[in-house]
Point group: C2
Chain length 285, copies 2
């Protein structure tokens, strides 16, 4: 497995692959790779000749009070995970190469970034869209793979890709879960043992909503109350939002008639860890 | 010469050219082609195997009180000009293809869009950057050619291209001028005959500043006063701005020490036509 650190080298390498007729798959990550990332890399492996995993903790998608500095960066371990799952190239640029002096260009995806995580993380999706577009331009992938756990991110990137006519096929891979259902996340490492235990209630709530939906329930308020009720059993989890939103626009839904995203964000009371999860009701990504 | 109207067809055509080893040059225009555009097409012709001229009056770069509706659209004549100057493909997409329902992604280039034309045309450069990025993604050009008359546009696109790692080489071609020095512009057609006569004062002012600069003058105030003095001789021209700005940041300059842009915008009193022009002092684009 090759490690590339400079955007120009990455672009030249990837362009040469493209010219030789090989398809390139990109898995953009911030490192701290877990089984969820492994699944994305395997998905890219199945779809492309050459798999590039980018590892870059992107400063412009973190708010000033967020965990940019403490975000885990176990680079050698990450390379091991990437290689074991079929990655050919780890692309890990420096901050200065990605954001040179006087950097001033940003991609704004409007409307669908206003709700859910966008409401409490102003500028987050601007940072995500900008860095993903940069990676697309540097790596020139035929396919890019993202995890459904970051549902709003998936929809923002899908909208950006359509709106900006980006020549890349997007694949959204299912969320990988721990045995008790907790969605895998690099931030799970921040949890205390009691927070970790109660964090399983998030998916338990979402699963309850799925069951109610399958039984015919179409009221967003009823479904959200069910989720809140289950998560609310823990005093260690503070709900940031429980919402049901249209899969296309992310507008809030009152009565479910089209595929809808049931999405949750909680913050843990003690460690202040932010956890998100979601299920799609009546459809898929 | 081929005419392509759909982005997907354009992308497939251009990708096939790229794969066959041909270089593609793009000249993005809003039509109403004059000798300035002809010069851009010829420049692309000299730099590339295949020349694409896009003709699209881009709604999102016009303000609500601007001339989007009355902007000239002489499509058949434009095709004649394009073909006569060596264009291979005119790409002329529809508004609905460029901006489908729920279009919501925009490129913001900050700071250098605040001054000069950006100050009086909020959202203009956002619209320009967005449509140019879309054209880059659709046409996948190796080279793109822009006219130096739209100096701030050139610098915004240069910044965007660097910041977003766009794989395209930019060429900025010199401003073409009428015999009396007036910069060629599609908007010159709006001028009354007396406005047209007085409009020559704009470049006369800029030339006076160039002469003063060559003679050693480095005070921005003195150079701007000279330009204002000459343009002010006409009661038909209302100065919007006369500024000298750093070529890299477009920050206002007090004493010229690095390459600087002397830039002018005027509005004509009767027809309300907005005219811009510029020269670079102590450097080039």
């Amino acid at each position: 497995m090759k490690i590339i650190r400079h955007p120009v080298e990455m672009h030249e390498f990837s362009s040469a692959l493209g010219k030789s007729g090989k398809t390139v798959g990109l898995v953009p990550t911030m490192g701290a790779l877990h089984e969820g990332h492994a699944s994305l890399i395997k998905t890219a492996r199945q779809n492309c000749d050459v798999v590039v995993t980018s590892i870059f903790v992107n400063p412009i998608q973190f708010g000033p009070t967020e965990d940019f500095v403490k975000y885990p960066r176990p680079f050698d371990k990450d390379c091991g995970v990437a290689e074991a799952n079929g990655c050919d190239i780890v692309f890990t640029p420096g901050e200065r190469e990605m954001y040179p002096e006087n950097f001033s260009t940003f991609v704004e995806v409007e409307n669908i970034t206003d709700s859910l995580c966008g409401a409490s993380r102003p500028g987050h999706f601007r940072g995500v869209a900008t860095v993903v577009l940069k990676f697309f331009n540097i790596v020139a992938p035929h396919v890019a793979v993202f995890g459904q756990k970051d549902a709003q991110q998936c929809l923002v990137i899908r909208r950006m890709t359509r709106d900006l006519n980006l020549p890349v096929r997007l694949v959204f891979a299912p969320t990988m879960r721990e045995k008790d259902g907790l969605a895998m996340s690099s931030r799970n490492a921040y949890l205390s043992s009691s927070e970790r235990r109660d964090a399983a209630l998030i998916y338990k709530g979402l699963s309850a909503a799925e069951n109610l939906y399958r039984a015919g329930e179409r009221s967003s308020a009823v479904l959200c109350d069910a989720i809140r009720g289950i998560i609310g059993a823990s005093s260690l989890l503070i709900v940031e939002y429980v919402e049901i939103a249209d899969m296309e626009t992310l507008a809030s839904v009152t009565t479910l008639s089209t595929p809808s995203l049931a999405a949750v964000a909680v913050r843990t009371a003690a460690s202040g860890t932010r956890l998100i999860d979601n299920v799609v009701l009546g459809g898929t990504f």
